[in-house]
Homo-oligomer: 361 residues x 4
């Protein structure tokens, strides 16, 4: 939440450009003695990595993560965190910078080219440089570690809307998510998404999406009012993901149209004497603090701006140009945002788990 | 963005409970030699203060702000900031704590009572204590100072939806906003909102709202990727406001349904050789950095949870109870969130203006 | 450690000028359910407050602290912290600004007048404004709260050198510290300090001092390498006190003249199977982390720059002037730095106690 | 100043263990368009690197730094910073972990073994792991970048004391520093240091040192009171260096023995109408803000704890043991602390240069 660093006590810093030597992150503040398994982290990276289906960019990146520090064998021979910074690195292998050569001095509409150049007076134009969504790979890696910080936490993300096609929430089935290339929890929508996205891709176009991420088994009490509210930090986390244009908690923007009676989640006591809520419009967060209900976040991802259709723009010399981006791109970049959203949920919860422990023991 | 402190270099910290002695904030990092006029800050506070129309809570608070430090007369006899912390305080005058006595041990549905009690094991229950929206008065005060940091900045907030009634954006007229009790920019909607909210209030109910805040004359280059993106910090700022459930930038969640051709804002050169955009789906932010277009943020506010209808809940002893909140409340708390949203916009822009100056001179 | 805020998770922010309306601080991140007793905090303030003997400034300040937020009666009727910001304020009563009128435009040698004016282009010159040691009263108040965060902690500060007169460490007796106006642990030195300081005061001069602060019962494991080392944060804390020019941990600068054999504290096992150290050159900190030994910090305080002897300086118009400061000042400001040093030790330990709990449970 | 991250707006984070795969750092917040030359950074690293004379450890590390991100060719073909994170890495080549094998479970006296093990329950024992002074190589690398941030800044460090041998300050000659293996500015002391350290080394012992670092051409106005004072942050920076036990600014601890007349630096106007000071007891800092005089910091480094003499200690099973550290070590680790002290001075000044620009334009 400060430049290239995210988090209060569980922090990570990312570095690297899309077509540089490598990208990486350093996780600071991780508790010691947590098993850190590169293969486990790799699984999450593989979910995000490009080129796994025709529905994502055909750039081929092995995205193999290396752990450079912060882990050591414990007495049982298991690699665990030592409490010192965990440095993770992915070397870039398939860079094909030549694809981008001709737009070196042009500002692709909808991209950060214009603002980076104007802010810094210089930019690494190759594949978007620092502004590329490639940076999100390191979030996924950091998230792979964060997931292990909060005991029993379960985080599940799914694509709930593509273009104007929305899933039927009543069909939500966690088990479906890994069964299709869209991370879609509604099996009925999969063929529709497939047909729709094929059409988009063949037209050289792109389309947006909405992602929902849910966390179960979140302890009551995470979140630190007033300016480190759990929902605030989730909004910050999700909005920091490339191309995200909105963040909603629980009922989200629909809450505007509800009455007080409809919106406020009523509470009862179950047979074991435990409190439970009759609904979850709050998205598991009251007054910025987790209530023990599922934490639910949704975010909209705009369509990839790199498309095969000519668009009007300018170059850095102030000349008007038409731009068509020929590189290999995602027809719906929102798909690959699912594991990224999960990772950011994991990071925020880990951070707040530790922050709460600091203040409340 | 860390506990009760918001901001990177222009920071403010708020303190105080709804029914305590006073509430306050301290602004740190304000540039020196900026005119600080209590009367000017008071104007913004008066816009937010309760009891100004039948459409807001009838709690009467003068909300008179005092400046306790950080200002001094310059050589021209004008009170200006000195670069040291500016301490602002509002004494609470109309507290009527007795109104709340009977819910001392009960958790009002939709409120933070449950989570505060579970997190901290204690809470100031009077009027919601620290979780009360009364805290937002200090944001408005801090915002009054922040507005003066970025030269020529213009910040305008309006209520664009109440319940399921939405304004017609084509009717947006800044001048209308101060002419009605709803901060509504669409004159045609005012009588409809009035009738609608009267009905809601008389029914002892409440309703949500959507607020849009726009900033003009924002310099190009504000925002610090990757984890202090301008949109990220705006999302953080707005989501930290009590009762906010969603934040959108520019096209927001509608971007999900757009194609790449529709979404990416094309750029041209005007007659003065200056770049301009043909649309503003980006909400003035590309890659986390301001583009010079208007920065546009929208957020949804849930309906007040304190209503005159009985709701099911529990008390802190684990007993099931029915709760009806008799205090004086806002039928649409979203109305008074307009000046708060403006203030948070001002604070984020001031912070990033200084942060950008740090790195880029 | 960022502008006017100190601390990582247990933080406090101070505000106010020497001759303004009031000074104050806000403590953020304090654990809940800690008894907060204004009378208890007042005791520490009374130790620091001016005018208690002929050896300190004759400015009379009641220094009465008020608690404005963050505390509430628990079920036993005891005022305890609620986990929200604790706002503390002291109203200034004996300001006599006229004393300072004539040096409004002059830079007192050794003071911050020159640098504040050049940095900010404006300053509150009255009594040094923000740069006055009066700010340290709020550190003492914050320290009064911090002392309660780490269980069983015992913090003891003493004056160990005044001018070139040093105590005999073999005479150190905690019980003596409260028995003399110098916070001196060596009873034999008290009459010598008295005579010496009377002479200094009557000559219109001033003199420096060295303070040592010790903390016992510090848990093993406080300190977060590499850049939040316990000794680093203590150095930061002590050097931030007005007029402090050096900070030493354990053997301090004497360590330079030791050999490896002499310096490294050897470890043995006591009769209860617990480790103990044969010496404490490390000052209770190894690798930035507390070892369980007493944490020992020393700092040197320069002589008050405000003296009754004419000194050469300039004014803000660039004219050479001679300055003699007629206000009421401390002949040895180091004396009143003792409770301030204790407070900063308390704050650093509380902060690291919580920070360690975050990472290590 | 928070875990493994140092700095407010110009920040760097270090990672890596002494005998891990690599060590590294990421510099965040560096202004764009600053020439970043790996060869230039390498020069500073070469000054710190081990094995360059018989007076430092015989561990051989090439210490070759690689730049992995954050730089790009500008229009003139010069590699410059882009404003994004600059990732630097040094691969470890000469690790010889076997040297340390037998002390895997033992706590070397004076080392961090005891505290790391007790804090984290695990540690990388190889060569001290994270607590090794090897980490300081990355500070030197970060400092190599920081030096270019403040225009015209000149930073010079020298060894002014070894054991009980002190230089004669009147002999200080910057040009001498690079002419001897001790970074000693007093040519007369060099043969004495040589003879002394040969004796120490042959005895299998070690000795401490005092380093002084000076910065010239520091602009007036750097430093942000109250809790980001320039001297405070320098104290924090220097005390964070391994083995440092004291930090002094200007007259330092000697200030305790001065009178007010002696201590406060008088000010005059020179022939060009510019203010100048008649002395520099303040070390270039008044009220936490730079005055334009040379900024002067001194710090004491304790003797290396790894010596060839048996010392009493315990192991992690609570058994008493005698330890003799056979690895290759520095007889006076203070020597190699000179470039580290310079680097930390550079980092603090760069950070405050940017921080001041944020607030004061």
């Amino acid at each position: 939440m400060s430049y290239n660093i995210f988090g209060h006590v569980f922090k990570f810093m990312t570095w690297g450009e899309s077509h540089g030597v490598a990208i990486g992150c350093v996780v600071d503040g991780c508790p010691p003695n947590i098993p850190i398994d590169a293969a486990e982290i790799q699984k999450f990276l593989d979910l995000r990595k490009p080129g796994t289906s025709r529905h994502t960019t055909q750039r081929r990146e092995a995205d193999l993560v290396k752990i450079l520090s912060g882990v050591f064998e414990n007495d049982d021979g298991v690699l665990v965190s030592t409490g010192t910074p965990i440095s993770l690195m992915i070397e870039n292998t398939d860079q094909r910078s030549k694809d981008y050569g001709e737009i070196q001095n042009q500002y692709r509409p909808g991209h950060a080219d214009f603002t980076y150049q104007n802010k810094y007076g210089i930019r690494d134009h190759r594949g978007g440089g620092r502004s590329s969504a490639r940076e999100t790979a390191m979030r996924v890696a950091a998230g792979g570690i964060a997931r292990q910080v909060v005991p029993n936490i379960k985080i599940t993300g799914g694509l709930v809307q593509m273009g104007d096609l929305k899933i039927n929430y009543e069909n939500w089935d966690d088990a479906q998510i890994s069964q299709n290339p869209f991370f879609c929890p509604d099996a009925e929508m999969v063929p529709k998404f497939e047909a729709y996205l094929d059409k988009i891709r063949k037209a050289g176009s792109s389309v947006g999406a909405v992602i929902e991420v849910r966390a179960s088994n979140v302890p009551v009490g995470l979140g630190a009012p007033i300016y480190a509210k759990l929902d605030q930090d989730l909004a910050s986390a999700m909005m920091s993901i490339n191309a995200v244009k909105s963040v909603e908690i629980g009922a989200g923007s629909d809450a505007a149209a509800l009455t007080g009676e409809e919106n406020a989640d009523q509470i009862r006591i179950d047979n074991h004497g435990e409190p439970f809520f009759l609904s979850n419009n709050a998205g598991g967060i009251l007054g910025g603090i987790s209530s023990g209900q599922d934490v639910i976040v949704r975010f909209a991802v705009k369509p990839t701006s790199s498309i095969l259709t000519k668009r009007q723009s300018i170059d850095k010399f102030g000349k008007q140009v038409d731009i068509m981006t020929k590189g290999r791109h995602d027809p719906c970049v929102g798909i690959r945002a699912v594991p990224v959203g999960e990772a950011m949920m994991a990071v925020v919860l880990a951070d707040h788990y530790l922050l709460n422990r600091a203040q409340n023991g």
